[in-house]
Protein backbone atom coordinates (compact mmCIF):
# COMPACT_ATOMS: atom_id res chain seq x y z
CA UNK A 1 0.00 0.00 0.00
CA UNK A 2 1.28 3.41 -1.01
CA UNK A 3 1.78 5.90 1.80
CA UNK A 4 -0.29 9.03 2.21
CA UNK A 5 1.28 12.08 0.57
CA UNK A 6 1.48 15.67 1.67
CA UNK A 7 0.21 18.23 -0.76
CA UNK A 8 0.95 21.93 -0.44
CA UNK A 9 -0.97 24.80 -1.93
CA UNK A 10 -1.22 28.53 -1.78
CA UNK A 11 -4.45 30.47 -1.52
CA UNK A 12 -5.27 34.03 -0.56
CA UNK A 13 -1.75 34.74 0.70
CA UNK A 14 -1.55 31.65 2.89
CA UNK A 15 0.35 28.40 2.52
CA UNK A 16 -1.65 25.31 3.28
CA UNK A 17 -0.79 21.66 3.59
CA UNK A 18 -3.08 18.66 3.27
CA UNK A 19 -2.64 14.91 3.45
CA UNK A 20 -3.94 12.74 0.64
CA UNK A 21 -4.06 9.12 -0.43
CA UNK A 22 -5.76 7.19 -3.24
CA UNK A 23 -7.39 3.99 -2.02
CA UNK A 24 -9.22 1.91 -4.58
CA UNK A 25 -11.34 4.28 -6.61
CA UNK A 26 -11.43 7.08 -4.03
CA UNK A 27 -9.03 9.83 -3.14
CA UNK A 28 -8.97 10.65 0.56
CA UNK A 29 -7.98 14.10 1.80
CA UNK A 30 -7.32 15.38 5.32
CA UNK A 31 -7.28 19.15 5.67
CA UNK A 32 -7.70 21.37 8.71
CA UNK A 33 -9.29 18.78 10.96
CA UNK A 34 -11.64 17.34 8.34
CA UNK A 35 -11.46 14.22 6.19
CA UNK A 36 -12.95 14.08 2.69
CA UNK A 37 -13.29 11.25 0.20
CA UNK A 38 -13.57 11.97 -3.49
CA UNK A 39 -14.47 9.34 -6.09
CA UNK A 40 -11.63 9.22 -8.58
CA UNK A 41 -13.22 7.11 -11.30
CA UNK A 42 -15.50 9.45 -13.12
CA UNK A 43 -15.36 7.22 -16.15
CA UNK A 44 -17.15 4.61 -14.15
CA UNK A 45 -19.60 7.09 -12.67
CA UNK A 46 -20.38 8.56 -16.07
CA UNK A 47 -21.14 5.23 -17.64
CA UNK A 48 -23.44 4.22 -14.82
CA UNK A 49 -25.10 7.57 -15.04
CA UNK A 50 -25.74 7.07 -18.72
CA UNK A 51 -27.10 3.56 -18.41
CA UNK A 52 -29.50 4.78 -15.75
CA UNK A 53 -30.72 7.62 -17.91
CA UNK A 54 -31.28 5.17 -20.71
CA UNK A 55 -33.57 3.05 -18.55
CA UNK A 56 -35.47 5.85 -16.91
CA UNK A 57 -38.58 3.76 -16.57
CA UNK A 58 -36.94 1.25 -14.25
CA UNK A 59 -36.12 2.05 -10.64
CA UNK A 60 -34.60 -0.16 -8.05
CA UNK A 61 -33.64 -0.62 -4.43
CA UNK A 62 -29.88 -0.82 -4.22
CA UNK A 63 -28.05 -2.15 -1.22
CA UNK A 64 -26.90 0.92 0.78
CA UNK A 65 -23.99 -1.04 2.31
CA UNK A 66 -22.29 -4.40 2.14
CA UNK A 67 -24.06 -6.89 4.35
CA UNK A 68 -26.24 -9.96 4.66
CA UNK A 69 -29.90 -10.19 3.61
CA UNK A 70 -31.95 -11.48 6.54
CA UNK A 71 -35.51 -11.01 5.24
CA UNK A 72 -37.23 -10.38 1.89
CA UNK A 73 -40.84 -9.37 2.48
CA UNK A 74 -42.26 -9.00 -1.01
CA UNK A 75 -41.91 -11.00 -4.21
CA UNK A 76 -42.13 -10.28 -7.92
CA UNK A 77 -45.54 -9.10 -9.05
CA UNK A 78 -46.51 -7.74 -5.61
CA UNK A 79 -47.09 -4.06 -5.00
CA UNK A 80 -45.01 -2.04 -2.56
CA UNK A 81 -46.51 0.90 -0.68
CA UNK A 82 -44.60 4.05 0.21
CA UNK A 83 -42.75 3.37 3.47
CA UNK A 84 -43.36 -0.37 3.35
CA UNK A 85 -40.46 -2.54 4.49
CA UNK A 86 -39.25 -4.59 1.55
CA UNK A 87 -35.86 -5.91 2.62
CA UNK A 88 -34.19 -6.44 6.00
CA UNK A 89 -30.44 -6.71 6.06
CA UNK A 90 -27.69 -6.98 8.63
CA UNK A 91 -24.32 -5.27 8.60
CA UNK A 92 -21.84 -4.81 11.40
CA UNK A 93 -24.20 -6.60 13.79
CA UNK A 94 -26.98 -4.04 13.27
CA UNK A 95 -30.18 -4.64 11.41
CA UNK A 96 -31.29 -2.21 8.71
CA UNK A 97 -34.69 -2.11 7.05
CA UNK A 98 -34.96 -0.97 3.46
CA UNK A 99 -38.29 0.68 2.75
CA UNK A 100 -39.87 1.52 -0.54
CA UNK A 101 -40.06 5.21 -1.26
CA UNK A 102 -42.74 4.77 -3.89
CA UNK A 103 -45.95 2.90 -4.61
CA UNK A 104 -44.93 0.49 -7.34
CA UNK A 105 -45.06 -3.05 -8.60
CA UNK A 106 -42.03 -5.25 -8.09
CA UNK A 107 -40.56 -6.49 -11.36
CA UNK A 108 -37.80 -8.69 -10.02
CA UNK A 109 -36.32 -9.68 -6.66
CA UNK A 110 -32.61 -10.01 -7.28
CA UNK A 111 -31.52 -11.37 -3.90
CA UNK A 112 -32.53 -13.96 -1.34
CA UNK A 113 -32.21 -14.48 2.44
CA UNK A 114 -28.64 -15.33 3.38
CA UNK A 115 -26.99 -13.51 0.46
CA UNK A 116 -23.92 -11.41 1.13
CA UNK A 117 -24.50 -8.31 -0.97
CA UNK A 118 -22.18 -5.51 -2.03
CA UNK A 119 -22.62 -1.76 -1.74
CA UNK A 120 -24.79 -0.55 -4.63
CA UNK A 121 -25.93 -4.03 -5.67
CA UNK A 122 -29.49 -4.07 -7.09
CA UNK A 123 -31.81 -5.94 -4.71
CA UNK A 124 -35.27 -5.13 -6.04
CA UNK A 125 -36.28 -3.84 -9.45
CA UNK A 126 -39.57 -1.95 -9.77
CA UNK A 127 -41.75 -1.40 -12.77
CA UNK A 128 -42.30 2.30 -12.46
CA UNK A 129 -41.47 5.65 -13.99
CA UNK A 130 -40.62 7.26 -10.67
CA UNK A 131 -36.92 7.78 -10.11
CA UNK A 132 -36.76 7.51 -6.34
CA UNK A 133 -36.66 4.13 -4.76
CA UNK A 134 -35.47 2.50 -1.59
CA UNK A 135 -34.07 4.34 1.35
CA UNK A 136 -32.54 3.23 4.58
CA UNK A 137 -34.67 3.75 7.66
Amino acid sequence: MIEAKKIKFHFDNHDYEALTQKIGSSVWVYFQGKTYSIPATDQNLKSRHKSKSANAGVTAILSPMPGKITKVLLSAGQNAEVGQVVIVMEAMKMEYTLKSELKAKIKKVMTKVGDQVALGQILIEFESSSNKAGEKK
Binding site: Y16, T20, T35, L45, H49, M65, M94, K136
Partner: protein, 495 residues
Protein backbone atom coordinates in the same frame (compact mmCIF):
# COMPACT_ATOMS: atom_id res chain seq x y z
CA UNK B 1 -4.01 -18.91 43.19
CA UNK B 2 -2.67 -20.24 39.92
CA UNK B 3 -0.32 -18.03 37.89
CA UNK B 4 -1.58 -17.52 34.35
CA UNK B 5 1.23 -18.02 31.81
CA UNK B 6 -0.68 -18.01 28.57
CA UNK B 7 -4.04 -16.39 28.05
CA UNK B 8 -6.39 -17.01 25.13
CA UNK B 9 -8.49 -14.11 23.89
CA UNK B 10 -11.93 -15.06 22.62
CA UNK B 11 -12.44 -11.74 20.91
CA UNK B 12 -11.17 -9.34 18.25
CA UNK B 13 -10.55 -5.67 17.43
CA UNK B 14 -9.50 -3.04 19.93
CA UNK B 15 -10.47 -5.00 23.05
CA UNK B 16 -8.22 -7.87 21.96
CA UNK B 17 -5.38 -5.36 21.61
CA UNK B 18 -6.22 -3.92 25.04
CA UNK B 19 -5.97 -7.40 26.60
CA UNK B 20 -2.71 -8.17 24.78
CA UNK B 21 -1.13 -4.95 26.14
CA UNK B 22 -2.17 -5.84 29.67
CA UNK B 23 -0.76 -9.36 29.30
CA UNK B 24 2.52 -8.07 27.87
CA UNK B 25 2.94 -5.87 30.91
CA UNK B 26 2.19 -8.80 33.21
CA UNK B 27 4.59 -11.11 31.36
CA UNK B 28 1.77 -13.35 30.08
CA UNK B 29 1.76 -14.82 26.57
CA UNK B 30 -1.37 -14.33 24.46
CA UNK B 31 -3.28 -16.50 22.02
CA UNK B 32 -5.72 -14.81 19.67
CA UNK B 33 -8.70 -17.03 18.83
CA UNK B 34 -9.69 -15.39 15.56
CA UNK B 35 -11.97 -15.87 12.57
CA UNK B 36 -10.81 -16.25 8.98
CA UNK B 37 -11.66 -12.59 8.37
CA UNK B 38 -9.35 -11.20 11.05
CA UNK B 39 -5.88 -12.11 9.90
CA UNK B 40 -5.31 -8.51 8.85
CA UNK B 41 -5.80 -6.90 12.23
CA UNK B 42 -3.65 -5.32 14.88
CA UNK B 43 -4.48 -7.96 17.51
CA UNK B 44 -3.39 -10.65 15.05
CA UNK B 45 -0.03 -8.94 14.63
CA UNK B 46 0.49 -8.35 18.35
CA UNK B 47 -0.57 -11.68 19.85
CA UNK B 48 2.11 -14.20 20.76
CA UNK B 49 0.15 -17.00 19.08
CA UNK B 50 -2.92 -17.04 16.88
CA UNK B 51 -5.37 -19.82 16.18
CA UNK B 52 -8.05 -19.63 13.52
CA UNK B 53 -11.27 -20.99 15.00
CA UNK B 54 -13.66 -20.62 12.10
CA UNK B 55 -15.26 -18.60 9.34
CA UNK B 56 -16.06 -14.91 9.24
CA UNK B 57 -19.67 -15.40 10.31
CA UNK B 58 -19.82 -14.95 14.07
CA UNK B 59 -21.73 -18.18 14.70
CA UNK B 60 -18.85 -20.05 13.06
CA UNK B 61 -16.15 -18.39 15.14
CA UNK B 62 -16.61 -15.75 17.83
CA UNK B 63 -19.94 -17.22 18.99
CA UNK B 64 -18.86 -20.84 18.58
CA UNK B 65 -18.20 -22.20 22.06
CA UNK B 66 -16.60 -25.57 21.12
CA UNK B 67 -14.31 -23.90 18.58
CA UNK B 68 -13.09 -21.38 21.17
CA UNK B 69 -12.51 -24.04 23.81
CA UNK B 70 -10.71 -26.28 21.33
CA UNK B 71 -8.52 -23.41 20.18
CA UNK B 72 -7.63 -22.40 23.72
CA UNK B 73 -6.72 -25.98 24.64
CA UNK B 74 -4.73 -26.55 21.47
CA UNK B 75 -2.67 -23.42 22.14
CA UNK B 76 -1.72 -24.53 25.64
CA UNK B 77 -3.43 -21.53 27.23
CA UNK B 78 -4.34 -21.73 30.90
CA UNK B 79 -6.96 -18.98 30.85
CA UNK B 80 -9.53 -17.38 28.55
CA UNK B 81 -10.49 -13.70 28.43
CA UNK B 82 -13.81 -13.14 26.65
CA UNK B 83 -13.45 -9.35 26.12
CA UNK B 84 -16.85 -7.71 25.61
CA UNK B 85 -19.67 -8.65 23.26
CA UNK B 86 -19.69 -12.12 21.68
CA UNK B 87 -19.46 -14.81 24.40
CA UNK B 88 -18.46 -12.48 27.22
CA UNK B 89 -21.83 -12.74 28.97
CA UNK B 90 -22.56 -16.32 28.01
CA UNK B 91 -22.74 -18.48 31.13
CA UNK B 92 -22.44 -21.68 29.09
CA UNK B 93 -19.16 -20.44 27.73
CA UNK B 94 -17.81 -19.58 31.18
CA UNK B 95 -18.84 -23.04 32.31
CA UNK B 96 -17.28 -24.75 29.29
CA UNK B 97 -14.02 -22.90 29.91
CA UNK B 98 -13.88 -24.01 33.52
CA UNK B 99 -14.85 -27.58 32.56
CA UNK B 100 -11.95 -27.67 30.12
CA UNK B 101 -9.67 -26.96 33.08
CA UNK B 102 -9.02 -23.35 32.09
CA UNK B 103 -9.49 -20.16 34.08
CA UNK B 104 -12.34 -17.96 32.88
CA UNK B 105 -11.36 -14.30 33.32
CA UNK B 106 -14.69 -13.05 34.57
CA UNK B 107 -17.43 -13.89 37.04
CA UNK B 108 -18.64 -17.43 37.64
CA UNK B 109 -21.20 -18.98 35.28
CA UNK B 110 -23.63 -18.75 38.16
CA UNK B 111 -23.13 -14.99 38.58
CA UNK B 112 -23.55 -14.50 34.84
CA UNK B 113 -26.83 -16.42 34.92
CA UNK B 114 -28.09 -14.52 37.95
CA UNK B 115 -27.04 -11.02 36.93
CA UNK B 116 -26.34 -11.16 33.21
CA UNK B 117 -29.73 -12.51 32.26
CA UNK B 118 -31.84 -9.36 32.38
CA UNK B 119 -34.87 -11.16 33.72
CA UNK B 120 -33.31 -13.05 36.61
CA UNK B 121 -31.34 -9.90 37.39
CA UNK B 122 -34.58 -7.98 37.88
CA UNK B 123 -35.80 -10.66 40.25
CA UNK B 124 -32.61 -10.48 42.29
CA UNK B 125 -32.71 -6.67 42.29
CA UNK B 126 -36.28 -6.72 43.55
CA UNK B 127 -35.06 -8.86 46.48
CA UNK B 128 -32.26 -6.39 47.15
CA UNK B 129 -34.81 -3.59 47.13
CA UNK B 130 -33.51 -1.79 44.05
CA UNK B 131 -36.02 0.37 42.16
CA UNK B 132 -37.08 -1.24 38.84
CA UNK B 133 -38.58 0.12 35.64
CA UNK B 134 -42.16 -1.15 35.11
CA UNK B 135 -42.21 -3.85 32.45
CA UNK B 136 -42.75 -7.46 31.41
CA UNK B 137 -40.13 -10.14 31.75
CA UNK B 138 -42.25 -13.29 31.69
CA UNK B 139 -41.44 -16.66 30.18
CA UNK B 140 -44.19 -16.53 27.58
CA UNK B 141 -42.28 -15.24 24.58
CA UNK B 142 -45.07 -15.59 22.03
CA UNK B 143 -45.61 -12.57 19.80
CA UNK B 144 -49.23 -12.27 20.95
CA UNK B 145 -48.28 -12.22 24.61
CA UNK B 146 -45.47 -9.72 24.10
CA UNK B 147 -47.71 -7.37 22.11
CA UNK B 148 -50.49 -7.50 24.69
CA UNK B 149 -48.03 -6.90 27.53
CA UNK B 150 -46.66 -3.90 25.63
CA UNK B 151 -50.18 -2.51 25.36
CA UNK B 152 -50.63 -2.97 29.13
CA UNK B 153 -47.39 -1.14 29.96
CA UNK B 154 -48.41 1.63 27.57
CA UNK B 155 -46.32 2.98 24.71
CA UNK B 156 -43.55 4.00 24.30
CA UNK B 157 -42.12 0.63 25.29
CA UNK B 158 -38.64 -0.80 24.82
CA UNK B 159 -38.10 -4.39 23.74
CA UNK B 160 -34.71 -5.81 24.74
CA UNK B 161 -32.71 -8.99 24.37
CA UNK B 162 -32.58 -10.83 27.71
CA UNK B 163 -29.02 -11.90 26.98
CA UNK B 164 -28.09 -8.62 25.29
CA UNK B 165 -26.09 -5.50 25.74
CA UNK B 166 -24.54 -2.75 23.66
CA UNK B 167 -27.82 -1.74 22.06
CA UNK B 168 -28.13 -4.86 19.98
CA UNK B 169 -31.46 -6.67 20.03
CA UNK B 170 -33.07 -3.54 21.43
CA UNK B 171 -35.86 -1.51 19.82
CA UNK B 172 -38.08 1.38 20.88
CA UNK B 173 -41.75 0.75 20.08
CA UNK B 174 -43.64 4.02 19.83
CA UNK B 175 -47.08 2.69 18.98
CA UNK B 176 -49.04 -0.49 18.37
CA UNK B 177 -48.64 -0.45 14.58
CA UNK B 178 -44.92 -1.07 14.73
CA UNK B 179 -44.97 -3.47 17.67
CA UNK B 180 -44.95 -6.74 15.70
CA UNK B 181 -42.19 -5.72 13.30
CA UNK B 182 -39.92 -4.35 16.03
CA UNK B 183 -40.37 -7.26 18.43
CA UNK B 184 -39.51 -9.72 15.67
CA UNK B 185 -36.54 -7.61 14.67
CA UNK B 186 -35.26 -7.55 18.26
CA UNK B 187 -35.63 -11.33 18.45
CA UNK B 188 -33.65 -11.84 15.24
CA UNK B 189 -30.88 -9.44 16.28
CA UNK B 190 -30.70 -11.07 19.68
CA UNK B 191 -30.38 -14.52 18.17
CA UNK B 192 -27.67 -13.35 15.81
CA UNK B 193 -25.69 -11.43 18.40
CA UNK B 194 -26.17 -13.45 21.58
CA UNK B 195 -27.46 -16.84 20.50
CA UNK B 196 -30.82 -16.49 22.29
CA UNK B 197 -34.04 -14.85 21.13
CA UNK B 198 -35.56 -14.25 24.57
CA UNK B 199 -36.64 -10.63 25.01
CA UNK B 200 -38.36 -8.53 27.66
CA UNK B 201 -40.30 -5.26 27.72
CA UNK B 202 -39.84 -2.06 29.68
CA UNK B 203 -41.64 1.25 29.94
CA UNK B 204 -39.56 3.80 28.07
CA UNK B 205 -38.31 6.63 30.27
CA UNK B 206 -38.21 9.60 27.95
CA UNK B 207 -36.05 12.12 29.82
CA UNK B 208 -33.61 9.85 31.66
CA UNK B 209 -29.87 9.94 32.00
CA UNK B 210 -27.83 6.78 31.66
CA UNK B 211 -25.62 6.46 34.74
CA UNK B 212 -23.64 3.32 35.50
CA UNK B 213 -21.36 2.14 38.28
CA UNK B 214 -18.18 0.18 37.75
CA UNK B 215 -18.12 -2.67 40.23
CA UNK B 216 -15.30 -5.01 41.08
CA UNK B 217 -15.41 -8.17 43.15
CA UNK B 218 -12.42 -10.01 44.53
CA UNK B 219 -12.20 -13.75 44.97
CA UNK B 220 -13.19 -13.49 48.65
CA UNK B 221 -16.67 -12.22 47.73
CA UNK B 222 -15.95 -8.61 48.64
CA UNK B 223 -17.37 -6.18 46.09
CA UNK B 224 -16.48 -2.50 45.77
CA UNK B 225 -17.54 0.13 43.28
CA UNK B 226 -15.12 2.29 41.33
CA UNK B 227 -17.45 5.23 40.86
CA UNK B 228 -19.72 6.11 38.03
CA UNK B 229 -19.84 6.88 34.33
CA UNK B 230 -22.43 8.78 32.35
CA UNK B 231 -23.36 7.39 28.94
CA UNK B 232 -26.47 9.36 28.04
CA UNK B 233 -25.27 10.08 24.51
CA UNK B 234 -26.72 7.09 22.69
CA UNK B 235 -28.06 6.44 19.24
CA UNK B 236 -30.24 3.41 18.63
CA UNK B 237 -29.41 2.49 22.27
CA UNK B 238 -25.77 2.29 21.36
CA UNK B 239 -23.41 4.44 23.40
CA UNK B 240 -21.40 7.01 21.48
CA UNK B 241 -19.78 9.20 24.12
CA UNK B 242 -19.07 8.21 27.72
CA UNK B 243 -17.69 10.17 30.65
CA UNK B 244 -16.34 9.56 34.12
CA UNK B 245 -17.48 10.64 36.52
CA UNK B 246 -21.01 11.89 35.81
CA UNK B 247 -21.50 15.61 36.30
CA UNK B 248 -25.16 14.98 37.18
CA UNK B 249 -24.93 13.22 40.53
CA UNK B 250 -25.10 14.86 43.92
CA UNK B 251 -22.81 13.27 46.50
CA UNK B 252 -25.86 11.87 48.20
CA UNK B 253 -27.22 10.28 45.04
CA UNK B 254 -23.78 8.94 44.12
CA UNK B 255 -23.53 7.30 47.52
CA UNK B 256 -27.01 5.73 47.30
CA UNK B 257 -26.57 4.45 43.75
CA UNK B 258 -23.09 3.12 44.52
CA UNK B 259 -24.43 1.25 47.53
CA UNK B 260 -27.29 -0.18 45.48
CA UNK B 261 -24.83 -1.37 42.83
CA UNK B 262 -22.59 -3.02 45.41
CA UNK B 263 -25.48 -4.68 47.24
CA UNK B 264 -26.84 -6.21 44.02
CA UNK B 265 -23.40 -7.42 42.90
CA UNK B 266 -22.69 -8.84 46.36
CA UNK B 267 -25.96 -10.74 46.25
CA UNK B 268 -24.88 -12.15 42.88
CA UNK B 269 -21.49 -13.22 44.36
CA UNK B 270 -19.82 -11.10 41.71
CA UNK B 271 -16.13 -11.56 40.90
CA UNK B 272 -14.04 -9.32 38.64
CA UNK B 273 -15.10 -6.28 36.62
CA UNK B 274 -18.75 -5.55 35.95
CA UNK B 275 -21.17 -2.69 35.55
CA UNK B 276 -24.52 -1.89 37.13
CA UNK B 277 -26.48 0.39 34.82
CA UNK B 278 -29.17 2.77 35.97
CA UNK B 279 -31.54 5.26 34.44
CA UNK B 280 -31.88 8.51 36.34
CA UNK B 281 -35.01 10.58 35.79
CA UNK B 282 -36.40 13.43 37.89
CA UNK B 283 -33.92 12.67 40.67
CA UNK B 284 -35.00 9.01 40.93
CA UNK B 285 -32.88 6.11 39.75
CA UNK B 286 -33.99 2.75 38.33
CA UNK B 287 -31.95 -0.38 37.69
CA UNK B 288 -31.47 -0.86 33.97
CA UNK B 289 -29.27 -3.94 33.81
CA UNK B 290 -26.00 -5.49 34.89
CA UNK B 291 -23.20 -6.14 32.42
CA UNK B 292 -21.21 -9.10 33.71
CA UNK B 293 -18.05 -8.21 31.82
CA UNK B 294 -15.58 -5.49 31.00
CA UNK B 295 -17.34 -2.49 29.46
CA UNK B 296 -16.22 -0.71 26.29
CA UNK B 297 -16.07 2.49 28.32
CA UNK B 298 -13.92 1.02 31.12
CA UNK B 299 -11.13 3.32 29.93
CA UNK B 300 -12.69 6.50 31.32
CA UNK B 301 -12.90 4.93 34.77
CA UNK B 302 -9.25 3.90 34.47
CA UNK B 303 -8.25 7.45 33.67
CA UNK B 304 -10.07 9.20 36.49
CA UNK B 305 -9.34 6.55 39.09
CA UNK B 306 -5.80 5.53 38.21
CA UNK B 307 -6.52 1.83 37.89
CA UNK B 308 -5.99 -0.78 35.19
CA UNK B 309 -9.18 -2.80 35.06
CA UNK B 310 -7.93 -5.39 32.57
CA UNK B 311 -4.85 -6.17 34.61
CA UNK B 312 -7.07 -6.21 37.70
CA UNK B 313 -9.35 -8.77 36.00
CA UNK B 314 -6.43 -11.02 35.15
CA UNK B 315 -4.81 -10.69 38.56
CA UNK B 316 -8.12 -11.39 40.25
CA UNK B 317 -8.59 -14.49 38.09
CA UNK B 318 -5.20 -15.62 39.40
CA UNK B 319 -6.46 -14.95 42.91
CA UNK B 320 -3.76 -12.42 43.81
CA UNK B 321 -5.43 -9.03 43.67
CA UNK B 322 -7.85 -7.10 45.81
CA UNK B 323 -9.26 -3.65 45.09
CA UNK B 324 -9.55 -1.54 48.18
CA UNK B 325 -12.20 1.07 47.54
CA UNK B 326 -10.87 3.48 50.12
CA UNK B 327 -7.68 3.81 48.10
CA UNK B 328 -9.51 5.27 45.17
CA UNK B 329 -11.05 8.63 44.53
CA UNK B 330 -11.80 10.15 41.16
CA UNK B 331 -9.57 12.91 39.79
CA UNK B 332 -10.28 15.22 36.87
CA UNK B 333 -12.57 14.23 34.05
CA UNK B 334 -12.34 11.67 31.25
CA UNK B 335 -14.32 11.39 28.02
CA UNK B 336 -14.42 8.57 25.51
CA UNK B 337 -15.62 8.87 21.92
CA UNK B 338 -16.38 5.70 20.04
CA UNK B 339 -15.19 5.87 16.47
CA UNK B 340 -17.61 3.98 14.23
CA UNK B 341 -16.99 3.08 10.59
CA UNK B 342 -20.06 4.80 9.24
CA UNK B 343 -21.06 7.78 7.20
CA UNK B 344 -22.38 10.54 9.46
CA UNK B 345 -23.73 12.41 6.45
CA UNK B 346 -25.98 9.50 5.57
CA UNK B 347 -27.61 8.70 8.86
CA UNK B 348 -24.75 6.56 10.10
CA UNK B 349 -24.81 3.99 7.32
CA UNK B 350 -21.96 1.46 7.80
CA UNK B 351 -18.82 2.03 5.81
CA UNK B 352 -16.43 -0.76 4.91
CA UNK B 353 -13.20 -0.92 2.99
CA UNK B 354 -9.45 -1.00 2.98
CA UNK B 355 -7.86 1.28 5.59
CA UNK B 356 -5.30 3.71 4.30
CA UNK B 357 -3.39 6.18 6.42
CA UNK B 358 -4.46 6.05 10.08
CA UNK B 359 -2.96 8.36 12.68
CA UNK B 360 -3.91 9.74 16.05
CA UNK B 361 -2.44 12.87 17.65
CA UNK B 362 -0.85 11.51 20.80
CA UNK B 363 -0.19 13.80 23.75
CA UNK B 364 -0.55 14.03 27.53
CA UNK B 365 -3.88 12.71 28.83
CA UNK B 366 -4.83 11.14 25.50
CA UNK B 367 -5.39 7.48 24.80
CA UNK B 368 -6.15 5.72 21.56
CA UNK B 369 -7.44 2.18 21.44
CA UNK B 370 -7.74 0.73 17.98
CA UNK B 371 -7.86 -2.65 16.36
CA UNK B 372 -6.98 -1.89 12.77
CA UNK B 373 -4.16 -0.16 10.97
CA UNK B 374 -3.22 0.93 7.49
CA UNK B 375 -3.61 -2.00 5.12
CA UNK B 376 -6.35 -3.73 7.13
CA UNK B 377 -9.87 -4.36 5.84
CA UNK B 378 -12.94 -3.15 7.69
CA UNK B 379 -15.57 -5.78 6.86
CA UNK B 380 -19.32 -5.89 7.35
CA UNK B 381 -19.17 -8.99 9.52
CA UNK B 382 -18.60 -7.31 12.86
CA UNK B 383 -19.37 -4.32 15.05
CA UNK B 384 -18.62 -0.99 13.34
CA UNK B 385 -16.56 0.35 16.28
CA UNK B 386 -13.02 0.55 14.94
CA UNK B 387 -11.39 2.74 17.58
CA UNK B 388 -11.88 4.59 20.84
CA UNK B 389 -10.46 8.01 21.55
CA UNK B 390 -10.15 8.82 25.24
CA UNK B 391 -8.98 12.04 26.85
CA UNK B 392 -8.42 13.10 30.41
CA UNK B 393 -8.05 16.61 31.75
CA UNK B 394 -8.33 18.46 35.03
CA UNK B 395 -11.94 19.52 34.47
CA UNK B 396 -14.89 18.61 32.25
CA UNK B 397 -14.76 21.80 30.14
CA UNK B 398 -11.05 21.25 29.53
CA UNK B 399 -11.63 17.60 28.67
CA UNK B 400 -14.32 18.57 26.13
CA UNK B 401 -12.02 21.15 24.57
CA UNK B 402 -9.18 18.62 24.41
CA UNK B 403 -11.43 15.94 22.90
CA UNK B 404 -12.49 18.24 20.06
CA UNK B 405 -8.85 19.03 19.26
CA UNK B 406 -7.85 15.39 19.43
CA UNK B 407 -10.68 14.26 17.15
CA UNK B 408 -9.83 17.00 14.67
CA UNK B 409 -6.27 15.71 14.65
CA UNK B 410 -7.26 12.07 14.07
CA UNK B 411 -6.94 10.87 10.48
CA UNK B 412 -8.61 7.74 9.13
CA UNK B 413 -8.52 7.12 5.38
CA UNK B 414 -10.38 4.30 3.66
CA UNK B 415 -13.66 4.22 5.55
CA UNK B 416 -15.99 6.99 6.59
CA UNK B 417 -16.13 7.58 10.32
CA UNK B 418 -18.43 9.34 12.76
CA UNK B 419 -15.66 11.73 13.85
CA UNK B 420 -17.53 14.81 12.50
CA UNK B 421 -20.61 13.57 14.36
CA UNK B 422 -18.67 13.23 17.63
CA UNK B 423 -17.31 16.75 17.21
CA UNK B 424 -20.80 18.14 16.57
CA UNK B 425 -22.05 16.45 19.75
CA UNK B 426 -19.15 17.80 21.83
CA UNK B 427 -19.95 21.32 20.64
CA UNK B 428 -23.67 21.10 21.41
CA UNK B 429 -24.82 23.36 24.30
CA UNK B 430 -26.84 20.57 25.90
CA UNK B 431 -23.76 18.36 26.04
CA UNK B 432 -21.58 21.21 27.27
CA UNK B 433 -24.09 21.95 30.05
CA UNK B 434 -24.23 18.28 30.94
CA UNK B 435 -28.03 18.21 30.76
CA UNK B 436 -28.32 15.64 27.97
CA UNK B 437 -30.63 12.64 28.35
CA UNK B 438 -30.73 9.36 26.42
CA UNK B 439 -32.91 11.17 23.88
CA UNK B 440 -30.21 13.75 23.20
CA UNK B 441 -29.37 12.31 19.76
CA UNK B 442 -32.98 11.81 18.78
CA UNK B 443 -33.83 15.38 19.82
CA UNK B 444 -30.81 17.07 18.27
CA UNK B 445 -29.30 14.90 15.59
CA UNK B 446 -32.24 12.98 14.19
CA UNK B 447 -31.46 14.25 10.72
CA UNK B 448 -27.79 13.31 10.92
CA UNK B 449 -25.21 15.81 9.79
CA UNK B 450 -25.55 18.04 6.78
CA UNK B 451 -22.67 18.02 4.34
CA UNK B 452 -21.05 21.39 4.95
CA UNK B 453 -20.55 23.75 2.02
CA UNK B 454 -17.01 23.78 0.68
CA UNK B 455 -14.89 26.88 1.06
CA UNK B 456 -13.00 28.24 -1.92
CA UNK B 457 -9.66 26.97 -0.56
CA UNK B 458 -11.09 23.47 -0.23
CA UNK B 459 -12.24 23.49 -3.85
CA UNK B 460 -8.78 24.57 -4.93
CA UNK B 461 -7.23 21.85 -2.81
CA UNK B 462 -9.50 19.15 -4.24
CA UNK B 463 -8.73 20.21 -7.76
CA UNK B 464 -5.04 20.01 -6.98
CA UNK B 465 -5.41 16.65 -5.26
CA UNK B 466 -7.32 15.12 -8.16
CA UNK B 467 -4.89 16.36 -10.75
CA UNK B 468 -2.04 15.02 -8.64
CA UNK B 469 -3.62 11.58 -8.58
CA UNK B 470 -4.95 11.53 -12.12
CA UNK B 471 -5.29 14.42 -14.51
CA UNK B 472 -8.68 15.45 -15.94
CA UNK B 473 -10.73 13.87 -13.16
CA UNK B 474 -13.98 15.50 -12.26
CA UNK B 475 -14.71 16.26 -8.65
CA UNK B 476 -17.52 15.17 -6.41
CA UNK B 477 -17.83 16.32 -2.87
CA UNK B 478 -17.77 13.07 -1.11
CA UNK B 479 -17.33 14.12 2.48
CA UNK B 480 -20.77 12.60 2.57
CA UNK B 481 -19.59 9.78 0.39
CA UNK B 482 -21.46 8.23 -2.46
CA UNK B 483 -25.15 8.95 -2.06
CA UNK B 484 -26.87 5.69 -1.27
CA UNK B 485 -29.21 5.20 -4.16
CA UNK B 486 -27.91 7.61 -6.70
CA UNK B 487 -24.20 8.18 -6.42
CA UNK B 488 -24.26 10.62 -9.31
CA UNK B 489 -27.14 12.79 -8.17
CA UNK B 490 -25.58 15.20 -5.78
CA UNK B 491 -22.11 15.58 -7.13
CA UNK B 492 -20.68 18.92 -8.07
CA UNK B 493 -17.96 19.63 -10.53
CA UNK B 494 -15.29 22.21 -10.94
CA UNK B 495 -15.94 23.67 -14.36
Amino acid sequence: MKKINRLAIANRGEVAVRIIKACEELGIETVLLHSEADMGSRAYRLATKKICIGGAQTNQSYLNIPANIQGALASGADAVHPGFGFLSENADFAEAVEKAGLIFVGPSANSIRLLGDKISCKQLAAKAGLPLIPGYSGKDQSLDCLISEAEKIGYPVIVKAAAGGGGRGMKLIKNSTEAKELIESAQRESLSAFGSEQVFLEKYLDRAKHIEFQIFGDSSGRVVHLFDRECSVQRRHQKIIEEAISSSLSEDLRKKMGEAAVSLATLGKYKGAGTVEFLLQDGKFYLLEVNTRLQVEHSVTEMVLGVDLVKAQILTAQGDFIFKTQDHSPRGHAIEGRVYAENPYQGGIPSTGLLGHVSFPEGPGRRFEYGFESGDQITSFYDPMIAKVIVWDESRPRAIQKMIKVLEGSVIFGVHTNIPYLIAILKHPEFINGTMTTRFIENNFAEGLKVPALAEKEKILFEKVLSAHKPSLSLQDAQGGIKTNSPWNQSWRIL
